[in-house]
Symmetry: C2
Subunit: 325 residues, 2 copies
């Protein structure tokens, strides 16, 4: 028997799921439109049917646990309540519904925590007991692992590093209603805002002057920077500088061995890693200098969401709050 875990990544538009073997191979995977079913139970049934079919067709596989990554996923209650970007309101009993169907331990957490655990269980953080995962997408998500364990927090709401305020006064308006949050500077949206403000400030030519804010992507900015566009390069430098300086503060709190960058903006490689590493080193307290690596995630983009979710089922046994079966 090969012991496998299931990973389910619930996103605002699409949901991915699959079965993962102990080496991190995704044995099967499926997708479902998050907005395509009427009730949440129906949605779970669709996923369960898919997973069950594969398990029935492959009697050599034994399901030992299920991990679910979802926006606002509460680790302690095993529920999602009024997630702003999911179609179902009220309280969704994710863990209970899946446990009823499979009778294995089910662990729920948010997507950034899932990515952090994915790196720990299947990626480049296997031998690292203290690290931070920064996911650079539309916003900035983070997952923190301290002494091998996810930092969950009292309300299951820790590691909102994107909402650390990085300006003395004012700063950019954030969707959270406050000003100066890190993710307004450091994220795919953040770098668009930076580039746009550079276009306004400087008169020099830029290929990006012909692209609207709505059409602009961080990929476009990376492409322009690689073609020598001065403002695009400057946007990356500024973004990395803000990230690096604030990571120096996070290092003073968590003293991690490594910081992983994941997501669209991290794909820009040296463009983002170099200024981030430089600003981090410049701002670190002496005792941390040269001791913190800034690394790309080893999960890749393919299958990362499923691996991350599945890895949650590998959290240490005594740390699980849900072993209902």
């Amino acid at each position: 028997m090969i012991k496998v875990t299931a990973g389910i990544d619930i996103g605002g538009t699409g949901t991915q799921f699959g079965l993962v073997d102990p080496d991190g191979q995704v044995l099967t995977e499926g997708k479902v439109d998050t907005r395509g079913t009427h009730s949440f139970e129906e949605f779970i049934d669709k996923i369960a049917a898919f997973l069950r079919q594969h398990l029935v067709e492959n009697p050599g596989l034994e399901l030992t646990g299920i991990g679910v990554g979802a926006p606002s996923g509460n680790y302690y209650t095993g529920t999602i309540t009024d997630a702003p970007n999911l179609p179902w309101k009220g309280t969704l009993d994710v863990v209970q519904l899946l446990n009823d169907r499979f009778h294995v331990p089910v662990v729920l957490s948010n997507d950034a925590n899932a990515t952090a655990m994915g790196e720990k269980v299947f990626g480049a953080a296997k031998d690292i007991k203290d690290f931070v995962m920064i996911t650079l997408g539309t916003g900035l998500g983070s997952g923190i692992v301290s002494s091998q364990q996810l930092v969950i927090g009292s309300q299951s709401m820790a590691a909102e590093f994107g909402h650390v305020m990085v300006r003395d006064k004012g700063g950019r308006l954030c969707n959270c209603g406050r000003r100066g949050c890190l993710e307004t500077y450091v994220s795919a949206t953040g770098i668009k805002r930076t580039l746009t403000s550079l276009l306004a400030k400087h008169p020099c030519a830029s290929a990006l002057r012909s692209v609207s804010f709505d059409d602009l992507t961080s990929k476009d900015i990376a492409h322009a920077a690689r073609s020598g566009d001065v403002l695009a390069k400057k946007a990356f430098q500024k973004t990395g500088r803000v990230l690096g300086k604030n990571l120096a503060n996070l290092v003073a709190i968590m003293n991690p061995e490594a910081i992983f960058l994941f997501g669209g903006l991290a794909q820009a490689g040296d463009l983002i890693f170099n200024p981030t590493r430089r600003a981090l080193e410049e701002n670190l307290l002496d005792m941390y200098k040269g001791k913190v690596q800034v690394l790309p995630s080893a999960l890749g983009s393919q299958g990362a969401a499923i691996l991350g979710a599945a890895s949650l089922a590998h959290q240490q046994k005594d740390y699980l709050h849900y072993e209902l079966s």
Copy 2:
């Protein structure tokens, strides 16, 4: 038999130690001048002799562990290396030397971590699994407990919250060589600097104009504030505002249930707690609002150092790196 633990708090000038019962009663305590012995081994022998005598005289006591709080105490190696404010240079084998003498588990950590664990084991954090301890002395120390465990970090150097940089650019020079560290604003020294800058800025009368910077204490500022001194009151408000705003950032990272304030400046009571709580609530992300208590430590100042050190011996067994006996 009553199981007791020993707590040893090594300070720059004085060292306190004692035996503590499971209810947090200090059964006996002693003091030794940290600078009064030639070698570190001699120093340890003095402490060991004191503890041993009490154990011999009280055969009903069974020593089950020793905790040591010390500046730069390394949790993993059990050693102190080149601590700037201790008289002995090189590597001091604290854990090994004590284990050789008593054959019980010995745990070493820094003093701020010891205070945090003291609150957990013997104080007001017994039922709190996620909290932060802020010690306001000459500098700002911190200890962080996440899911019942101390956040130690990869080099045993986590929770240096006093060295989070809180200014966009510049800021006050810190002893660490950088600028804008939180402790240059929030600590006994920080509030002295704030009061002094207020004396320079405002022409109004203040009882504190007759006191030199060297003679000024945070107690003087508290006393003046309670007597209605406008600048002294303003100094506390500013200090609380900087602390509260930056605690809001720490909450976004750790999501603690409570934040404890300890040390000289915390003794000022409402003068520091009120502006801190107000600024914290104003700056918190919505989902944390009303969920984080800011509380005085329940350890008191008497015996707190010994209780804190002793509590380190109560860290969960599987978390101990030193069980040499």
